[in-house]
């Protein structure tokens, strides 16, 4: 027996291919959508992996420092560094902000890191160009996504920073490139008030009789100095010794230091499950709609293709072809369409993924699942056409 579906496809292959390509673009959008979700998860994952930390110590009762604001004093690391199992600690400050550069505004996450010793947790894991930050002030390392060049000077708030190094895949959980600056600079950016606010604050403190007592010289000045300085950070990143149990050290910190400590596993849960929960439901919804649209379109295409063959199907029935043969022909064509559509879609998704502003991660597993779903949708969608074909009366081949 010859393959009727294959012969029909070969006979009108141009039309079939064209239809398959159209369907493929739609499937490409669907695969990209899944890739955008995977990219979001991966952004969170690299944020955790590239920070070089095993524990995140943050303000009690918060999901900081990425998912919720957290503020702790910049000297709590002293108490943590002494705990058994702790190898290295690093204060970290995070602030997402708009940065204007070369006439364009873009969003970035400014990260304050300790620069006194190399390899403190919080610093970028590797550089793709340039050198680490050596000076205590006004040097920065930027993710390539920010499109800064080595040696460029970028203005962040009140100061200009020189880009001394570049790194890759260091993005915030919302995909904004990170710009690493010395901690003191970051604290200033985040917590320091502008001059008007300082003057205002000073006047208010001076007007407060509690701080401006007659007979206590120096009290007002001391309070004002304390106010003007920033002594806060968002988190302390902790690197553990190789044999230390993260959960045990975290429990220790929680118990004694009145702080919250998260392990990598918990941080993953916060970043992947909690922080992007709404976004992933959004994408899931979109995927469902795209699947339904794909199914409807495939059903429509196959139905139209079948109706265009009413006479041939009537002849086939008249000369004795089985329903099974006819249904098989339509099903195979639907699957063939799905096959072309899937490969075109996968190709298209791969081609346009780099153009997306945020990371699009196309996983082979997703492609495989997508393939199975596309085939299932095509099989399902052919049911309507098969029913129509089986209803065709062989008498139509004879006419009136």
């Amino acid at each position: 027996m010859i393959n009727l579906a294959g012969r029909d496809i070969l006979h009108g292959w141009g039309k079939f291919l064209f239809t398959g390509v159209g369907l493929g673009l739609l499937i490409g959008v669907t695969l990209s959508m899944a890739g955008i979700y995977r990219g979001m998860v991966d952004d969170g994952q690299v944020l955790i992996d590239n920070s070089g930390a095993d524990l995140w110590v943050v303000q009690q009762g918060t999901l900081g420092p990425y998912a919720e604001p957290s503020s702790i004093r910049d000297d709590v690391w002293r108490g943590i560094a002494g705990l058994p199992g702790v190898a290295e600690t690093g204060n970290a400050a995070y602030l997402t902000m708009q940065i204007e550069h070369a006439g364009k505004e873009s969003r970035a996450m400014v990260v304050g890191m300790e620069v006194d010793r190399p390899n403190r947790p919080g610093a970028p894991a590797y550089l793709t160009a340039g050198r680490p930050v050596l000076a205590g002030h006004y040097e920065a390392i930027a993710d390539e996504l920010a499109k800064f060049k080595l040696g460029e000077r970028v203005r962040i708030r009140r100061h200009e920073y020189e880009i001394v190094g570049l790194t890759r895949r260091m993005v915030s959980s919302s995909g904004d490139p990170m710009i690493f600056v010395p901690l003191k600079d970051a604290q200033e950016i985040q917590f320091l008030k502008d001059n008007d606010a300082l003057l205002n604050e000073r006047a208010r403190t001076a007007a407060n009789p509690a701080f401006n007592r007659p007979g206590v010289p120096g009290l007002l000045e001391a309070v004002q100095a304390a106010n003007a300085q920033s002594r806060m950070v968002n988190a302390v990143l902790v690197r553990l010794e190789a044999n230390a149990d993260p959960e045990a050290v975290a429990a220790e910190i929680r118990r004694w230091k009145r702080l919250q400590a998260y392990t990598k596993v918990q941080m993953e849960d916060i970043l992947v499950a909690k922080l992007i929960a709404t976004s992933s439901r959004q994408i899931a919804m979109f995927l469902v709609i795209l699947s339904v649209v794909t199914a409807a379109i495939v059903a429509f295409i196959i139905y139209t293709m079948t109706l265009a063959k009413v006479r041939e199907i009537a002849v086939l029935k008249l000369i004795g072809a089985r329903n099974r043969t006819i249904a098989g022909m339509i099903l195979q064509q639907a699957l063939g369409l799905g096959l072309i559509g899937f490969f075109v879609g996968r190709l298209a998704a791969g081609l346009w993924a780099p153009v997306f502003p945020k990371y699009v991660l196309l996983l082979p597993g997703d492609a495989l699942r997508g393939f199975a779903i596309v085939m299932a949708i095509c099989a399902l969608a052919s049911v309507v056409a098969i029913r129509a074909a089986l209803a065709i009366d062989p008498a139509e081949a004879i006419g009136g």
Partner: protein, 241 residues
């Protein structure tokens, strides 16, 4: 034609009513007809007289509403005894009846050979044997030189000859042809009729040709006139081709 053998087709009192109640149309009101192996008979009647309906009943495409039909001595339909005798009308059509229509109705996505070979293939014969048989028939019908061509590349006459080859492909004892010469000029129409006569003799096939083509009516040796759902038989001129 061998009148001592069993008739290829014997119909008695065949009736067909379309629809029910007020809308009912009695297309066949008791048709009698006998066709012998190796014989080509003409079926002639005005438009709406029931010619196509009769072919559809004979071809097991629609179910009659009464009467009796025998193919090669075997009852396939008995209105008094439950209608069709077989549940598998497609196998009946595939193995025992060849169809030639007014338009050739070939399958456009198969080449000429496979259009003919499809029938034996549907009957379970392997591709090589089916194509071999197809080629033999195409040779007999003088279209073997177009065996590998696409249907759309053929002339109307060639397509009709391929359609005849297809109707013969399963060695069906009966061929039903509904105005097979309508799209052809008179010379080609006569060629088609000559081919049908040759095939009837060569394969001992019983062939019914529905027509109102004045040029070919004189070629039939026997003619059934159908009017208002009833037939009567008449000798034809049997003009040699």
């Amino acid at each position: 034609m061998d009148k001592t053998s069993i008739p290829a087709i014997r119909i008695e009192g065949l009736m067909k009513r379309y629809g029910t109640g007020d809308a009912a149309v009695d297309a066949l009101k008791g048709v009698d007809m006998t066709v012998w192996p190796g014989e080509v008979v003409g079926l002639i009647g005005p438009s709406g007289s029931g010619k196509t309906t009769l072919l559809k009943c004979l071809g097991a495409v629609i179910e009659p509403t009464g009467g009796h039909m025998q193919l090669s001595g075997e009852t396939i339909y008995d209105g008094k005894d439950g209608g069709w005798r077989t549940g598998d009308l497609r196998a009946l059509r595939r193995d025992r009846i060849g169809f030639v229509f007014q338009a050739p109705y070939l399958i456009p996505f198969l080449d000429v050979t496979d259009n003919v070979a499809l029938l034996p293939m549907l009957a379970g014969i392997d591709n090589a044997a089916a194509r071999k048989r197809a080629l033999e028939l195409l040779t007999a019908l003088d279209v073997a030189h177009r065996a590998g061509a696409q249907v759309s590349q053929l002339s109307g006459g060639e397509q009709q000859r391929v359609a005849i080859a297809r109707s013969l492909a399963n060695h069906a004892p009966i061929i039903l042809a509904d105005e097979p010469t309508a799209p052809l000029d008179s010379e080609r129409a006569l060629t088609v009729i000559r081919i049908l006569n040759d095939m009837a003799v060569q394969y001992q096939t019983a062939i019914i040709v529905v027509t109102h083509d004045e040029k070919i009516i004189p070629t039939f040796k026997r003619i059934y006139h159908i009017r208002d759902g009833r037939t009567h038989e008449e000798a034809g001129e049997g003009r040699p081709l």
